[in-house]
Subunit: 539 residues, 2 copies
């Protein structure tokens, strides 16, 4: 029987300490759902004692059902010279409604005297009292021993005393943190071995990547007896980031044969990692191990001819095991499995031998080459496929649009859009202002369509994301716009790519409304008579 | 006496196999000079047998003087069933004029029979003949044992035979390659230990990063007896890249105390890594260990207050040792201590009791409330603080701008900007087109300023990020624009927030140029006479 290792994800807490990352409550909810699908065992949602956004997350998470994961709230040991029961921070953990509390305390004597400025004795009491308080409140308690490795190197006896205090108070896990990320695998291995012999409580590892050893240190700890790994998807986190779960999970499972998540869950790793990078609006490096777009890409001529003979000649593992795929850069032989899956969902006659199928695959490949990425834009992909296979009614066609933004010193900026579209044979020429250029375009297009489709007033853009694709050209480069639209019953995502942000937004906007109007048949067109009756005709 | 380890850089050869990397001969020459400054011992310049660009590199390198590095040319063992002396590829190595040849050969029996399709015996002869031929030509010979670890795991006896053949023929180094990047540190350590006992020739390591273990595997090999490390700056290379020398060098020197490069050379590590990322036109991740812009950046309030007491509380090493520096990010998660640190960096009289200090703190808080986030926008924060404390010259003021985007069916989208600004008392009214609206604004503003500040032509936007802040309002919500600007010596970041993406971009753009023109005093204004002489006046 393989040994089991638990995954503790802190993307939503430690991950948000990374430069450039800022997640809304809605973003956090979406990410938590994905993490649960991936099969992680703990999801650390935030620090309810530190800000109201995190309190709101726990409120919303309480009413959600998770298949695999337990939700955990983060905090610290009580303040010095006070009672745990009076500590606001500890009480917030209980009030959060999470079943698990993760609290950190000091292991390094230097930190006790320098950072929190108290006695070594009082720090031990702070650990004991805090864990005990949370255990008495009925929570599972994970004790994060901050700076454990630095502390152990400085004063091993004291570092061990701190975690024994957590054990005595009933902690369910003791997690050794390499907070500054400066430890090496050999040290981690040696110290974890000693700790697992010194305590009976299960031990975990929390590593950072400051020496580019976050993954190696996590593996070394597991091989020395740790049974929980804390980290973040894509290695997000302060400074150089936390240990990267997107690499740790497959390394543990495929290379070291621990039992971590299921075979099917592991196959979602690539899409989950990419989804989270989209939500966090962080650029995913193409060369990211296992899940990057180039992780199984072959460029060199010798390599390519060898992998055509046998893929294992230049691949350390099968990309499909982590949901990624082989790409051959010279001849673009990339698989179209995601397109295939979508076509099956839609019951389309997707046969690779048919001309129609070949054409749409070519078109999608070309669009991907231009910067489209259909992973987060199901609605745009559905429209493309249904158009190719079924033909779709052309609800409206663009004749032209103009978009004007004007600003004078000390005056508010003004955005106007003028739209000329043909709807059911009629040319409609209209204009609108907006709070920003995309809002103005959206308003003008709706104004043109509402006469025929009055129900579009119930449809709203609910999110808008912009990604600059070409890191070289900056504003002269390409832009990908991802839009989320909702009718409050469901939401759909659409995509536009252009070197011009306004044009990219227009494409995404057009698909957002087309999807509502055609594809889902949710909004029925009304005829001229009905328009008169409803008072919808522009005079 | 510390043990010495030699660094073999293959950025110019294996590094260029990375997706998105393409270097001209001139780029390669520039990079080679920088690598020499850094103190690496071998610079692999290319594969003269594979393309004419690499032949040209070696021609040019022959007439250059290097302080530290030997130039090495790359190739493979002779073709099967032929003579080494007839092999074009091997002859090209000799003709390259490089003093060192690095050739790879097969260690894995499966590769011998599957990829090159010959006998195990002939492969041994290919290795022996090729090394002998190059040694007889008077070159230092590094033998790269491709797939050594996979080969050893499959057939240890044969793998050892291959490298003994290289030794018998006189190879100066035997380098064990983890070509597919699938090995783990424990395996690497064990196999390198066995090899160093089996051969008398010095041993090296060549690792890849497919399991995010390239750095760890290189360190494990050195600790097991390897004395040469092959890798690339910033870890460039095929798939997930080669082992990253930008992390390996400081880890070996600062953490494991090997003798690698000098103390002064190590202090150039950050600037060399960033320089090479510029030349290679690759975006450098902010969280890159040791050399990234966020490698020593602190965001959390608790961390910031602790590092003010003692930097070693949250820093694993001194950033100055690798030429990097500490940064304190200002954000919602931090108290005012971050602003204080920034003010200290700038030598401002920041006293919390003074009215001026209270006012600027209030202003920054209000801006944060409006959606500004100064982490990652050092230049905008510096301008704000210096303006409040020192007063800054008003280089130009906006009178108005207009931005127009126009699209007709089946025609390309057009973006134009009209800008009216006052510069040194003169009103300049000008217009420009652009590849997208922000590029048009940038072009128009530069056109207005270039008469006074001709050097701004050397400054360009290098990155542009957009984030929608209000999850509910979507396009009706606020937008934060982050811009990165570079003059190729340094890089600075500016910020703009507005409900209008064009206005937000304008603010970031204005700060980007103001920072160049005022704050850094890098670009000197020219007067009317000089303008005439330089032909800069618009007629």
């Amino acid at each position: 029987m393989p040994t089991s290792v638990k995954i503790f994800d802190t993307t939503l807490r430690d991950g948000t300490q990374g430069e450039g990352i800022s997640l809304s409550v809605e973003d956090k909810i979406k990410i938590a759902r994905k993490l649960d699908e991936l099969g992680v065992h703990y999801i650390e949602g935030g620090w309810p004692g530190s800000n109201s956004k995190d309190i709101e997350f726990f409120e919303r998470a309480r009413s959600m059902t998770f298949k695999n994961a337990k939700i955990t709230a983060f905090g610290s040991t009580r303040r010095k010279d006070s009672l745990a029961s009076d500590d606001i921070n500890l009480n917030r953990l209980v009030e959060s409604g999470a079943s698990v509390a993760t609290i950190f305390g000091k292991s390094w004597d230097f930190h006790v005297t320098t950072a929190i400025q108290t006695t070594l004795e009082e720090n031990l009491n702070m650990i004991y009292d805090s864990v005990l308080f949370l255990k008495k409140s009925g929570m599972e308690v994970i004790y994060d021993a901050e700076h454990f490795f630095d502390g152990y190197k400085n004063n091993p006896e004291y570092a061990l005393q701190t975690i024994r205090k957590a054990q005595d108070a009933g902690a369910d896990w003791i997690v050794l943190c390499d907070t500054n990320g400066g430890s090496l695998p050999g040290e981690v291995s040696e110290i974890v071995s000693i700790v697992t012999k010194s305590v009976t409580t299960p031990v975990g590892i929390h590593a950072h990547n400051d020496c580019e050893l976050g993954v190696a240190n996590s593996l070394a700890a597991v091989q020395a007896g740790a049974r929980q790994v804390q980290g973040t998807i894509n290695g997000y986190g302060e400074r150089c980031g936390n240990a990267n779960l997107s690499s740790i999970i497959p390394n543990l499972q495929l290379k070291l044969h621990y039992e971590v998540i299921s075979v099917e869950e592991l196959q979602t790793l690539t899409s989950v990692s990419r989804y989270i990078s989209e939500i966090a609006n962080m650029h995913m490096p193409v060369n990211q191990p296992y899940v990057g777009n180039a992780a199984f890409a072959h460029k060199g001529g010798i390599h390519v001819s060898a992998i055509l003979k046998d893929a294992s000649t230049y691949e350390h593992t099968k990309p499909e095991l982590v949901g990624n795929k082989q790409r051959v850069l010279v001849s673009e032989l990339a698989g179209q499995s995601n397109v295939l899956v979508k076509a099956q969902e839609l019951n389309l006659d997707f046969n690779k031998e048919h001309q129609k199928t070949k054409e749409i695959i070519e078109k999608i490949k070309e669009m991907e080459h231009q910067g489209y990425q259909f992973e987060g834009a199901d609605a745009t992909l559905e429209l493309l496929l249904r158009e190719a296979f079924e033909g779709l009614e052309e609800i409206f066609t663009l004749e032209s649009f103009k978009m004007l933004v004007e600003k004078s010193a000390n005056q508010a900026v003004v955005s106007e859009a003028i739209v000329k579209v043909k709807v059911h044979g009629e040319t409609i020429y209209t204009a609108a202002e907006g709070n920003g250029p995309v809002n103005a375009l959206d308003n003008a297009l709706r104004k043109a369509l509402i006469q025929y489709y009055p129900d579009i007033k119930n449809i709203h853009l609910s999110d808008y994301k912009v990604r600059v694709l070409d890191e070289k050209g900056a504003t002269a480069g390409k832009v990908r716009v991802l839009m989320e639209t909702t009718d409050f019953k469901s939401t759909w995502n659409t995509l536009g790519v252009s070197s011009n942000i306004i044009e990219a937004s227009w494409y995404a906007l057009v698909d957002s409304l087309r999807y509502a109007l055609i594809s889902r048949q949710r909004v029925e067109p009304v005829n001229k008579d009905q328009q008169e009756r409803l008072g919808l005709v522009n005079h």
